[in-house]
Assembly symmetry: D2
Homo-oligomer: 414 residues x 4
Amino acid sequence: MGVGMVGYAFMGAAHSQGWRTVGHVFDLPLGARLAAVCGRDGTAVRAAADRLGWAAAETDWRALIARDDVDIVDICTPGDSHAEIAIAALDAGKHVLCEKPLANTVEEAEAMAAAAERAAARGQVAMVGFNYRRVPALALARRMVAEGRLGTLRHVRLSYLQDWLVDPGFPLTWRLRKDRAGSGALGDLGAHIVDLAQFLTGEAVAGVSALTETFVRERPLPEGSSAGITAAGTGSGSEPGAGAGGGAGSGAAGFGQVTVDDAAVFTARFPSGALATFEATRFAAGRKNALRLELNGSDGSLAFDLERLNELSFHDHTEPASSSGFRRILVTEPGHPYLEAWWPPGHGLGYEHTFVHQARDLLHAIATGTVPAPSFADGLSVQRVLAAVEESAEKNAVYTPVPAAPVHASVNLV
Amino acid sequence: MGVGMVGYAFMGAAHSQGWRTVGHVFDLPLGARLAAVCGRDGTAVRAAADRLGWAAAETDWRALIARDDVDIVDICTPGDSHAEIAIAALDAGKHVLCEKPLANTVEEAEAMAAAAERAAARGQVAMVGFNYRRVPALALARRMVAEGRLGTLRHVRLSYLQDWLVDPGFPLTWRLRKDRAGSGALGDLGAHIVDLAQFLTGEAVAGVSALTETFVRERPLPEGSSAGITAAGTGSGSEPGAGAGGGAGSGAAGFGQVTVDDAAVFTARFPSGALATFEATRFAAGRKNALRLELNGSDGSLAFDLERLNELSFHDHTEPASSSGFRRILVTEPGHPYLEAWWPPGHGLGYEHTFVHQARDLLHAIATGTVPAPSFADGLSVQRVLAAVEESAEKNAVYTPVPAAPVHASVNLV
Amino acid sequence: MGVGMVGYAFMGAAHSQGWRTVGHVFDLPLGARLAAVCGRDGTAVRAAADRLGWAAAETDWRALIARDDVDIVDICTPGDSHAEIAIAALDAGKHVLCEKPLANTVEEAEAMAAAAERAAARGQVAMVGFNYRRVPALALARRMVAEGRLGTLRHVRLSYLQDWLVDPGFPLTWRLRKDRAGSGALGDLGAHIVDLAQFLTGEAVAGVSALTETFVRERPLPEGSSAGITAAGTGSGSEPGAGAGGGAGSGAAGFGQVTVDDAAVFTARFPSGALATFEATRFAAGRKNALRLELNGSDGSLAFDLERLNELSFHDHTEPASSSGFRRILVTEPGHPYLEAWWPPGHGLGYEHTFVHQARDLLHAIATGTVPAPSFADGLSVQRVLAAVEESAEKNAVYTPVPAAPVHASVNLV
Amino acid sequence: MGVGMVGYAFMGAAHSQGWRTVGHVFDLPLGARLAAVCGRDGTAVRAAADRLGWAAAETDWRALIARDDVDIVDICTPGDSHAEIAIAALDAGKHVLCEKPLANTVEEAEAMAAAAERAAARGQVAMVGFNYRRVPALALARRMVAEGRLGTLRHVRLSYLQDWLVDPGFPLTWRLRKDRAGSGALGDLGAHIVDLAQFLTGEAVAGVSALTETFVRERPLPEGSSAGITAAGTGSGSEPGAGAGGGAGSGAAGFGQVTVDDAAVFTARFPSGALATFEATRFAAGRKNALRLELNGSDGSLAFDLERLNELSFHDHTEPASSSGFRRILVTEPGHPYLEAWWPPGHGLGYEHTFVHQARDLLHAIATGTVPAPSFADGLSVQRVLAAVEESAEKNAVYTPVPAAPVHASVNLV
């Protein structure tokens, strides 16, 4: 399968590593070829193609989609261009992998999910890039929940803490502008933990009550801000650096308004009755990429921290109290998800491996003609939760029900 | 100073250890004598007096208060009797130490704070038993916040997780009855973390948005439930055991309604703009006494877990990124709060030491005639937050402002 | 039982807390009364008696032994006086508790063990103060080893790391003088880990190969060094502070020779074939009281760190690899050793509780007329290992067999 | 630079990932091309070439060396073939990267170091694959030691614990045969920790005292054991699986003798006076790849565990005691070694990244004509320590001096 990627910043680099590696590690039903990468700046995109290993470079995403040697379109741009590119690619008969959050609005996400639905009827696959589902420890956590190791779920607790905005001198990059990024910590980090909560529990969030805050409301404009869509990367819960793909308008010195949230905290209910708390922030000094979660059920509990991504903590409540306790499972055994292909026990994986696994799973879905997980419907489901969070935050935190997840969301399939 | 204690279950035993030990460890301005303990069952209270080291036993708390050899009345009963006993003791000219939560309602707490105010004018001291302020690591945390080590506060995150109700066969003890305990996890565990949040930040919670839940709504009645007020202990965030001081009415076999919350989750705002999340539950399998907290500020962060109570985790955000990180301060150095009196570095303290420290601080307040912290006004301040939580939970989680803290609350004195 | 204690520094204070508390917490077959404390300086010992709760004070240990109201002699002095006092006390018909290490030489220890043997025939009990056997987590570890949870033992690994000598300005206290302390880190810290290794495995060390080192060979003399035997406390693995019980001769300003080891590292073999490593040092910057150990067997492993004394880490190797891992057992459950008497789950104990447990176990041994563990024979067994370590260190680390443990050592009884 | 690799099992796969990735991540002075891979079994090596991304396959290592398109020979075979291949490659004018341990005997290692010396005069580079020097946390540790952050070193403590031999049914693979592997845990795991100790301290081990043990002396022969040199991978501290490259003779069912050590424990001295302990074992149940180390100096301490390879623990002893403690440095900052090329802070790396870094450093050494670290002289230095360990173990653990490190060992260059 020929892959064409739009965007080549942080996320593009991570995806490239996934595409380059997957065939050398996993036994695949279909191979992947790095056909072409696309960005607006011709010189820059050609340099990126060389460095990242893409055979060709394009400066117009429509041209990329039109290429015969491109079977899969991989969208690594900011959220404001996802819908247009993804729908065009699907309508052109391509498989699509789109970075998260799926879109900047529920309306866009709905249109994308509808396009994915139409395309599925033609045998095409559309997947959204919630890569943390592919951390082996989290895939194992899902397996253990599905096996019933936790019993009836009581508590779900997720936070995603980063600290790159603590410094008020950090510039106003595209991630801090509502028109480009849709939202701030909520869409960037919150989207991940909402998706994981739904993935791990197999339930869709029923409703939320939320507070959001922008602590630093004005920031210096980045220098020389001229980046367009394709020159800008998008993220998977992280900032690619001040200079990369920034741009808040004039490029002149001076300050601009931060138009997104710096942090969001919300509580939620799940249909099963479980209570949940969520927190997403870029203002937690010392927490670099601390996506932490804990699930408590009547028969056991699970805990995880992305800063120690090879470990899953598990408490088996059915054991005698005198010898039970949270155990650290080092998720590097051959029997663990994705691990059959990697190194011996104890030889840990890193962040980028999630993109190798994502590529593997996408190729399997294409080969078998199955709806991938997370599908665009899953992406839409997350988008509806994020919209409910914003609505609740505007309405004095009142509990705001989330519309039912769309039919093909994986929470309906579990 | 002669001490008279009402109640002798779990909390009474812990307080006794504090009173017995304080004079042998600390240099005190005033000594403490274990004069008398009070409980309704004469045989049982005499046995308790013998075991716990009290010189005399009483079966009527009014008689205890009336004793000439009692200068301090220490109230370790369930919340429904706090107001009556405390006000009577204060009006009788005694100093009072009252277990938390201060009362079962805001009205009672207001009456108690008013009585404490009147008594203060006569030189009497009234303190509420939020003993976790006396964990050296948390006293150190407060000191570091006050020194400005955290800069501007952005996030406050506290949870208090226990698991003794996971088993649906656990009986309906007094802690699960609204008439006795006032509320469930909220008043028992939530009170501690609300007080700590206010203590550590030096700010009063401005408003809250809350969800509460009772997961198991019916439980077996405890056997032989006949316990009265003074035979029942009260707690400091823990269950004294199914049999101790239970009693849900008839004592007959059968089931009864749980009339309190099993769990409460809430978000909050602080006047400084910081966002907060709180969680209190008795349904977190594997978490035994996990009072965890984290504060994130512009210059640093602090984290703590009561299950490792001799440790405080601190990140100094003013250090170079390449060598910074959360450090584990072992809070056992002579320069740490309360540590001058104990063991060499690295020789940890336990849970009960908080009661020794509480006794010390109360005796110092009496000797110097100063308003103690936490005062009854602090207890009232917490009570108002808890009431706002309950109100918000009833009103669909809508953000509910908390009335200003009373004048003598320590958050107004910082 | 009336207790008479010799020495009242750090160890004396810790023992006093044990004696004061034991009867209020545990159900005991025999009570303990703090009859008298002994020290050379009359004024100081009377002050200590007042502060620590002893009914009387003596300035001559022979007088203490002679008292009718003293049934148990508790020896908390430096090692050079252990033999004389203990033997005299035993010959006078008293029960004896003696701080570790049992003596400064094997010869002394042999005489003491012989005296204990004679006294046992008369129904007297002699116990050595290896208090860490009474940490609930370590008592649980022993129980699990005895139950066979570890299978065949392969590796034993213990280190005891402190850092109070890192500063070359720390004065030359009695602990740094061979004539008083016998040895340095070896006897103070190494004695603990040798005893624990034998206690946990149920095996006596077969032979050792050792290196020792004194990093700082000269130190300032302490001010006003005049302390005599009984004015000086002794330790249980820690320094009571520069001034307490120091004394290196003249008391004049100036420097003196450090005549003991600062650190000892040794390897060992056990009769079962297991390999062991030991390390004791006062030069591990940042490690305050880090007694760490790990046992690896064919069916499981155990790990422990005294700086987190309420936790035991256990790996069950008989579980499926995909869900196994080291679990953190919070050793605060009612079913754990010594825990029936303390607080609810998750409410941790501290260092001093080991002395309460020691007092309990001694009183039980007296009441039941059983040989206590650790007995003087156990103390002698440790002493022989320490002597073999010193011999090996002098002989270029050559493997040095340890003479068989004496007949009544608990390793022979398991 | 064209790379030719000999061996394609576990280590070959890991090296391949390094060679494939390095040019896409780092800015390099020279590129690397995967020219050819070599193995004895033609079918198998062609399959491996396809899977791992090598352009060609060879079945004779002499043919591989002779290829014009091979500039670098990368040796990933068991230790018994290292010397022959490496010397031939160097003599043929190729740069060489050779897996650790450098050789099976000191004599071989001396010949290799001599060949490297001659080749260096011709501008060739010879590096040994101690890849853990390239873990960013350990490179940072070295930097901090070199900056003097630890002051005078007192203690060095390393252990490398695995557990894949706990099961007595694990077959007798080549790693358990002295003729193939040279030694057991000692050469496989011990070599790593000896190299790291010398790398981190900048000192060569002065002498050692050692015990070794083979716990399980007989094991089942692997099935179908026919693998030759090039079909067998070699390791970097891990077992590639029972079937991969095994072979203990006949291939018939039955048992064979284990002729290497299962575990080695040794103490050591460094020229600066620091004491060290080392432990290498494949019998530590539950420890999968636990290479742990701690250094204690007069001004600070460092600790590390390979199972959490993105973290370095640092205690700064020059800070005030009341706020100091071991801090967890998450070694993912742009200013950390190797990190400029990877992901944002908090996005961890894995085991295989060490091979990317190794490739980078080798290419830099070739481009700049500098002696690489670790050089063959470093490999020889480690070999001499291992030989002294074996000698000491044979001589009743007597302290055995290690001959001085060869002139071009990096410990002489620091």
